[in-house]
């Protein structure tokens, strides 16, 4: 019993160390964003100067709006494609289905450089100029699998019985979808959309290859980083950090790990 407790204590201190490793760097970014000077010594002071400077940087604000625009556009397309795709793959059996699934997943799991380069090579071969549209295309490539696989896992857990029951009771396919299926997968769709937006908001590699002069925020920050880390970089990093934390919190409400989220309420009678 004693050795078990010792082991537990060791494990917990190791776990604490890992959490420290995970969060210390993020804390550093926050601290530096409020620091008057660039070095550690300046921690004594506190300033909001860098945040004010951010709002004066017109190009940065423009890049920010581009990122939001691409994110919203990519998510809208990804939800439409991912939803139909999820039902197709979940409900229809056809030869080569596992290969089909893998191909859909590829843009999300392959290193970004591979997707970025492949899309760039085709775009250049077709003589299409780089534009916001090509960036959007790149973002649609990896957001579709995000939505599709989230919805698929919900459909898989739901099973086909509810739909069959609705059909047997005389509902047509549209009614079945609207009154039975959609309410059950709604939270999965919202969660997936938020997740897809978060991924799109942060994406740098694919955007970098497919963007011309029309920059998204990560591409713009990446450019700033070439000239060393200015305090402004910390300020925008801190804002991004807090924004992504907010998105994650929101997302976790919808993609809860508990099955209860989507379980149909028991009937009273």
């Amino acid at each position: 019993m004693n050795s078990r407790r010792k082991l537990g204590l060791g494990l917990k201190s190791y776990g604490f160390f890992v959490y420290f490793f995970l969060y210390f760097p993020l804390l550093i970014v926050l601290i530096f964003s409020f620091s008057p000077t660039k070095t550690m010594v300046g921690i004594s002071g506190f300033t909001l100067k860098w945040y004010r400077e951010l709002f004066r940087d017109e190009n940065l604000l423009i890049a920010f709006s581009h990122t939001i625009l691409i994110g919203v556009g990519a998510v809208a397309i990804a939800v439409a494609l991912g939803l139909t795709g999820a039902f197709f793959v979940s409900r229809v059996s056809f030869p080569g289905k596992s290969i089909f699934r893998t191909l859909v997943l590829l843009p999300y799991i392959l290193p970004g450089i591979l997707m970025g380069i492949s899309l760039l090579v085709v775009i250049k071969a077709l003589n299409v100029p780089l534009s916001p549209f090509t960036v959007l295309l790149g973002h649609v490539s990896f957001t579709v699998p995000v939505v599709m696989f989230q919805v698929m896992s919900r459909i898989a857990r739901m099973g086909p019985n509810y739909q069959s029951a609705a059909m047997d009771l005389g509902a047509n396919p549209v009614q079945t979808f609207w009154y039975v299926t959609l309410p059950m997968i709604r939270t999965a769709i919202i969660g997936a959309a938020l997740l897809a937006f978060t991924v799109s908001f942060d994406e740098i590699v694919i955007s970098y290859f497919l963007t011309g002069t029309w920059m998204t925020l990560p591409v713009y920050i990446y450019g700033m980083m070439r000239y060393g880390l200015s305090p402004k970089v910390y300020a925008i990093s801190a804002i991004i950090l807090l924004l992504s934390l907010a998105l994650i919190m929101l997302m976790s409400r919808y993609t809860g790990r508990t099955a209860e989220v989507y379980r149909v309420r028991p009937r009273k009678d």
């Binding site: 760097p25 550093i28 191909l103 859909v104 579709v144 990560p218 990446y222 980083m225």
Partner: protein, 287 residues
């Protein structure tokens, strides 16, 4: 299942996703593969088929050397990721009762925290005037900044391990959660201690999750080029940087396409191991 009555309608539903897949996955990857057999003439890419690009990769030891170096580094990073992520998942699964949900969130949140922000953070910590060096200097432990912290493979390994931890944690945790608790009780009733139970029962049962996490970490580490560029310095040139440079100043797209295809082949081969030995569930961040 419910759709048996109208198979043609069901197939119609598959059209959008199939078109998407052809346009954004199959054609780009296929055309890149084709480009890897093209050649550069002057400043133009000529569609004359050649094996020159692959021959260049195989004959010049510099290129295969960089690939080997990247493979070794990715392997080390994946192992470090396991070393950090597995005990965390184990602790959360078997040793924590209160605040489990919060700790779970705390373990996976870094997954979605901006990639660039994390790079910025580590550059700040490891830099010559960075957090570690400043702290050590202030404490009087060192006079000169420790130069081995940044712009080398050590910095790449630290940052990529940092990025990979949640990718290892999630599939391992999913696998551990699935182990029926009565099996552990049986093992304990038969006289096995926690360590023995771990080695003989828990570890083998969590192996699919472990392999999935390992493979994800390995592929992320192998394909990254921004972290080597930002933190690796001159000795930190990795395979991703080599590919990238062919599309930048080297301007040899066909050779870059060939290198990309080599990376693709390695990634896909390793990923296919997941479906055989690991589990795709949980590896992809689903519910």
């Amino acid at each position: 299942m419910g759709e048996r009555r109208s198979p043609s309608r069901a197939l119609l539903r598959g059209i959008p996703i199939t078109v998407w897949m052809l346009v954004l996955v199959v054609v780009p990857l296929g055309y890149t593969f084709l480009t890897s057999f093209f050649q550069v003439e002057g400043l133009q890419i000529a569609a004359k088929l050649t094996l020159k690009n692959y021959a260049l990769f195989l004959t010049d030891p510099m290129y295969s050397g960089i690939l080997l170096k990247s493979l070794v580094l990715a392997l080390a990073i994946a192992m470090l990721g396991i070393l950090a992520g597995y005990p965390l998942a184990y602790m959360l699964c078997f040793r924590v009762r209160r605040g489990k949900q919060a700790l779970f969130m705390l373990s996976i949140i870094p997954l979605w925290v901006s990639y660039l922000v994390r790079i910025i953070a580590w550059r700040t910590i490891l830099g010559n005037k960075g957090v570690i060096n400043s702290a050590l200097t202030a404490l009087g432990l060192i006079q000169e900044p420790l130069s081995f912290l940044l712009y080398n493979r050590f910095a790449i390994a630290v940052t990529l391990t940092y990025i990979c931890i949640p990718f290892v944690f999630i599939p391992v945790y999913t696998a551990l959660e699935k182990i029926p608790r009565n099996i552990l009780e049986a093992s304990s009733d038969l006289g096995a201690g926690e360590l023995r139970t771990f080695l003989n029962v828990v570890l083998p049962l969590s192996l699919p999750g472990l392999i999935t996490g390992f493979i994800f970490a390995f592929i992320i580490a192998l394909g990254d080029y921004i972290i080597p560029q930002q933190l690796g310095g001159t000795q930190g040139i990795m395979f991703g940087n080599l590919i990238w440079s062919q599309f930048g100043f080297a301007f040899n797209w066909p050779f870059g396409a060939a290198l990309s295809f080599i990376l693709l082949a390695i990634s896909v081969t390793i990923l296919s191991l997941t479906s055989r030995f690991g589990t795709t569930e949980g590896g992809f961040i689903s519910e």
